[in-house]
Symmetry: C2
Subunit: 300 residues, 2 copies
Amino acid sequence: MSLSKEEIADWFRQLQLHICSELESEDGKAKFEEDSWERPGGGGGHTRVIQHGNVFEKGGVNFSAVHGELTEPIMKALELNDRNFFATGVSIVIHPHNPFVPIIHMNVRYFELGDGTYWFGGGIDLTPHYVQTDDAKFFHQQLKNTCDRFDANYYPEFKRWADDYFFIKHRKETRGIGGIFFDRLKEDAGHSKQQIWEFVKAVGETFAPTYRSIVSRNKNASYTDSNLKWRNLRRGRYVEFNLVYDKGTKFGLETDGRIESILMSLPENASWVYDFRPTKNSLEADTLNRLIKGVDWAAG
Amino acid sequence: MSLSKEEIADWFRQLQLHICSELESEDGKAKFEEDSWERPGGGGGHTRVIQHGNVFEKGGVNFSAVHGELTEPIMKALELNDRNFFATGVSIVIHPHNPFVPIIHMNVRYFELGDGTYWFGGGIDLTPHYVQTDDAKFFHQQLKNTCDRFDANYYPEFKRWADDYFFIKHRKETRGIGGIFFDRLKEDAGHSKQQIWEFVKAVGETFAPTYRSIVSRNKNASYTDSNLKWRNLRRGRYVEFNLVYDKGTKFGLETDGRIESILMSLPENASWVYDFRPTKNSLEADTLNRLIKGVDWAAG
């Protein structure tokens, strides 16, 4: 039996619940609260938010499965030939308290048109306030392991794509240490639709154990007020990326999406200080130097 | 003798220094620090920033006078026929500490091309964290008085323009209580270039006494932690407007402008809370209800 959009949406919804449960275990205190919403044009979603936990200050794990008719400008922008669309996915951003625990983002999604056109997209990327070599290597190695199970070209290709995508052009800085990013993935000579779906599921399943491992290693690290100030400056950069460049955010704002679900990606607190320059040889200066494209974290 | 671009730039630079001196007097503690910078393509500017004052947490008063060659995409977007440009102006954003002192923004600018095309633009708008009727009426009345000295149509036209421009579409909220906004103002049957310049100068001169009056009335108001939280949420909205909609910011980011001067408009601290809803009948709820277009503050 061929893969149906309902099957994909059901699996994504289960992934959302599973990830929330894993994050609650890691936090030990806060629970996700769920808002269910309907989209006037068709479908809806469940937005799950965790706030003021032991570990997580603010985080969102969104599921949606929406359908309806695309507008002409969007059809044109996406170069599509059919108006009827279905889209489902899970989208996550987690902002931890501790400056030594990284921000993480994941998105897995499926898009289908009435004429049978479809594609998968997604990615996971990590934004440490302080770049730590062991965490960065571990993170990229986990992503590479998942990719390599399906196609040896996936990791190098999708890693480069993430470097290019999660880039704050006006700062000439990457948002964090990248990860993987892919879009418009569909069957080809080497992969069936089912195989791509298995890959997307594997990416989704990589999220919880990978992030929990990084969180648990760092969540009890001690920190100073100066570390918190730097954390908030880095969160400011996160806000800049999401409001200026992030395609999902822009698409949501332009298509009158559910604002609170779209902007749950923004941190509880962010800060901007005029012309801040870290002290020479500080941890902060080291991080800035490492927010560049093309670092081969999974090497060796 | 006809008005030269040097004369305009010199006056803008003096306006910058005058406004900084007025704001320092109002603050009573902090002083502006000046960074002078050169633009690789031609010209430069002086960025003046005040931080951690008695009254002002973070504020910037920028002057620039730049020249060079426009790129093809920008010429096309602005519908221009000459590549050689000159642009000068003063741009201000002030974020006060006290939640009962409003954020203010002003911009006055002049643009000229090698073929003689020119225009003036500008505006002043007020963003109270709490909308207070007396302040709002006073602010709009001052702007109206200035406009009315030059053209009875200016205030109604430029007030409507500000309502439309300073609008956060995705929130369906105005950024604040508006003010005036105008662009591409040049000589016509009713106004010479000199007369328009006198109007632009008058707008610039309206800033300091008007804002000082509002600041001095509110700077000693007592406030609670809950007022500060609300202030930071409203600052979050300010960030959303500036990064998503503000044309000056977008233009600066896209043309590789001096980032620290462009983003000095962002507050030291901003906050986002998932689906925050003010208590019924609270001051916060009252403010939200008044962040709408079309309020005739200068009436009566």
